[in-house]
């Protein structure tokens, strides 16, 4: 019934439109030329992943759009100094994190405040960044571009620079007007199109070909006995937060790590709600074996350190779980020692399992690789 009403409403609107324009119908709209159309690219999700959050209907993928997105992702032209691209801090061999960096450095070697998160499976993110401030993938790129210590550039200026390509004599010749035309049908370069192209590329960056995925799809031999043990312990002790096949519940939690020197308050900085103090987004654990260091400020360099923190069992040392009003209740169960009880053998099994989430195909997939214009430090 509601649908019928909706259709009626739309018909009413169209009717009004046709009546109001009846005077001028003798000039038919010019038909856009049918050549130069970008090639549609089908996007399929792994069957055991949830439906994507990103609305593909508003930005359908095309071969040319994804290609443009890839160039934009790697091109340092996005930064004030023309040498820091997205790919500088999101490097493929480290599952698109910043290999060897707890905190990344951007223009003029300025250091940021948080550990670069992995760019993978973005299609399913309900929010972005450690504090979840951004809710739409199209609005992710301006954050690092306009951050003073990351790329320190204005989006408006990036657009001007893109329009002026190819730059005569430049070492890397990229013709963005031509690429925008291929991707969108006209050579108009706008910020909206730039963000859409980047989203198109990021949509394709799906990691679902780890050994664990083969196991899920029915290959029981893909995991060893220890790894399978680790999986079952993980499900009991870790999966309430690192939930589902994306290994995150996408919530914001205080996992008991002590505030750092700059007293980063995480989610609180977005909401100004005292209940959100020291909470950070639960990260996906896909490729976690490749994305060291860990936590929002990269304070732990190994998975062993991470599990030692949660187990809170270091002999002779003080409580590793920092107690504050927002500490996650799952780590603070009445009558029990704070943290998650884990034996040494259990920790080893969990780590063995976590490493089965490493996706070698993903980090070697040429579709996601630097097309020869990137800069890595």
């Amino acid at each position: 019934m509601r649908k019928v009403k909706d259709i009626l409403a739309i018909t009413a609107a169209l009717l009004a439109l046709s009546v109001s324009c009846s005077k001028k119908t003798d000039n038919p709209e010019p038909v856009p030329p049918s050549d130069n159309k970008p090639t549609p690219l089908e996007w399929t999700k792994p069957s055991y992943f949830p439906d994507p959050v990103y609305d593909l209907s508003k930005n359908p993928l095309t071969v040319e759009g994804v290609e443009l997105g890839k160039f934009l992702f790697y091109d340092g032209i996005l930064s004030r100094t023309d040498n820091i691209g997205c790919g500088t801090c999101h490097q493929q061999q480290a599952a698109f994190t910043h290999h060897g960096h707890d905190l990344s450095h951007g223009v003029d070697d300025k250091i940021g405040t948080r550990n670069a998160p992995s760019v993978q499976n973005m299609a399913w993110n309900t929010s972005f960044f450690w504090d979840g401030g951004v809710h739409d993938m199209d609005m992710v790129p301006p954050v690092p571009i306009q951050n003073k210590v990351e790329m320190d550039e204005r989006v408006g200026n990036v657009i001007e620079k893109l329009k002026k390509t190819p730059v005569a004599g430049a070492a890397k010749q990229v013709d963005y007007p031509k690429m925008f035309k291929a991707a969108f049908g006209s050579d108009s370069i706008t910020a909206d199109r730039m963000m859409q192209a980047l989203s198109q590329f990021m949509m394709t960056m799906v990691s679902a070909t780890s050994r664990y995925d083969y196991f899920l799809r029915g290959d029981a031999s893909a995991l060893t006995t220890q790894e399978k043990d680790g999986l079952s312990i993980f499900k009991q002790k870790c999966a309430s937060c690192h939930a589902g096949e994306l290994f995150t519940d996408q919530k914001f939690r205080n996992n008991g790590i002590a505030p750092n020197r700059i007293n980063d308050q995480g989610r609180y900085d977005i909401t100004l709600n005292a209940d959100d103090r020291l909470k950070f987004k639960v990260p996906s654990l896909r490729n976690v074996g490749l994305t060291a260091p860990y936590m929002h400020d990269g304070r732990f360099t190994t998975l062993e350190q991470v599990l030692d923190h949660y187990a809170n069992d270091k002999p002779g040392s003080k409580d590793s779980i920092y107690v504050s009003p927002t500490l996650d209740p799952l780590l603070n169960v009445a009558g029990q020692k704070r943290g998650i009880s884990l034996t040494a053998a259990e920790k080893q099994s969990i780590i063995a399992f976590l490493k089965t989430l490493n996706d070698d195909d993903f980090i070697k997939d040429k579709r996601f690789s630097d097309p020869g214009i990137g800069t890595s430090f």
């Binding site: 009413a12 609107a13 109001s20 504090d131 609005m139 951050n147 204005r154 977005i270």
Partner: protein
């Protein structure tokens, strides 16, 4: 039921919107139109006490006894309404109701509002900032273009938008002060927060209501009234909440920003009206 009503409303809003646009052919402008409209101008003048604000060059003293200069002052004026003599309200159409006043840009301080219903007006209301409706619109929607475009033009150039916690910075005041505790001796007041996208947060949107003292603004098809609005920067520091640059050299992402918003909401007054 609600949804059904909404879709009907949407349909008619759409239809009438299209009607307006599709019928604006030049040869039809002289069609009989019973509604007469005119133009009103709003001239914003930023002052300090009783003197015109001078960027950078002049040192001022706030009520806390602290010296300060102003190097940057920008704020959005939006959702403008004009109040008639009988108290009824003419709402300026949304498509011409968003402005970014920049002290460094003379032109930005002179607002011309066309298509104002003719009549006599006794006051004005406006919002300092950008309302939640526009703030949560998709950035590529038409309602977020022009002065509200976050990727180009003054909003982008002046960085009047937080990307990482998406929302406009309603008011940006920066300068230097010997009382500042920052490394470079500057102070930064960036006031935003529209009330939250997915959950309720701080709401620093403020509505300002001003009466035209002893005067009215007449709008006819030929008379243009110019309303001179002064904004006293001292009030941002001083009243009703007395702020201290020493205690708060940087106010951006804290609850305390509401005191700044309360202060600047009271900094405006109408100096005079001139007819042209």
């Amino acid at each position: 039921m609600m949804k059904r009503t909404f879709s009907w409303l949407l349909a008619w809003a759409f239809a009438s919107g299209v009607l307006m646009v599709s019928c604006a052919f030049p040869d039809e402008d002289d069609d009989t139109d019973p509604i007469e409209t005119g133009t009103i101008q709003l001239q914003f003048d930023n002052i300090v006490g009783d003197k015109d604000l001078q960027l950078d060059s002049t040192r001022y003293i706030n009520a806390a006894g602290e010296d300060f200069t102003v190097s940057k002052l920008n704020y959005y004026i939006s959702n403008i309404k004009l109040v008639r003599m009988d108290g009824s309200i003419f709402t300026v159409p949304q498509d011409s109701s968003y402005f970014l006043i920049r002290e460094a840009n003379q032109e930005s301080q002179n607002l011309t509002i066309r298509n104002v219903l003719t009549g006599e007006y006794a006051g004005i209301e406006f919002v300092v900032g950008v309302d939640s409706v526009r703030s949560v619109m998709e950035p590529d929607s038409p309602g977020r273009k022009g002065i509200l475009d976050i990727y180009s033009g003054p909003t982008n150039e002046e960085a009047m938008y937080w990307d990482w916690n998406p929302g406009y910075i309603f008011m940006k005041l920066e300068g230097s002060s010997d009382s500042s505790t920052t490394a470079n001796g500057k102070y930064y007041y960036h006031i935003g927060f529209f009330g939250g996208r997915t959950e309720r947060t701080l709401n620093n949107l403020r509505t300002v209501k001003l009466t035209f003292p002893g005067q009215k603004a007449i709008v006819t098809t030929s008379i243009v009234s110019k309303v001179f609005i002064q904004a006293d920067i001292q009030k941002i520091f001083n009243s009703p909440n007395q702020l201290s640059i020493k205690k708060s050299s940087s106010l951006m992402f804290t609850d305390s920003t509401k005191y700044v918003a309360d202060n600047y909401a009271g900094m405006f007054h109408v100096k005079e009206i001139k007819m042209q």
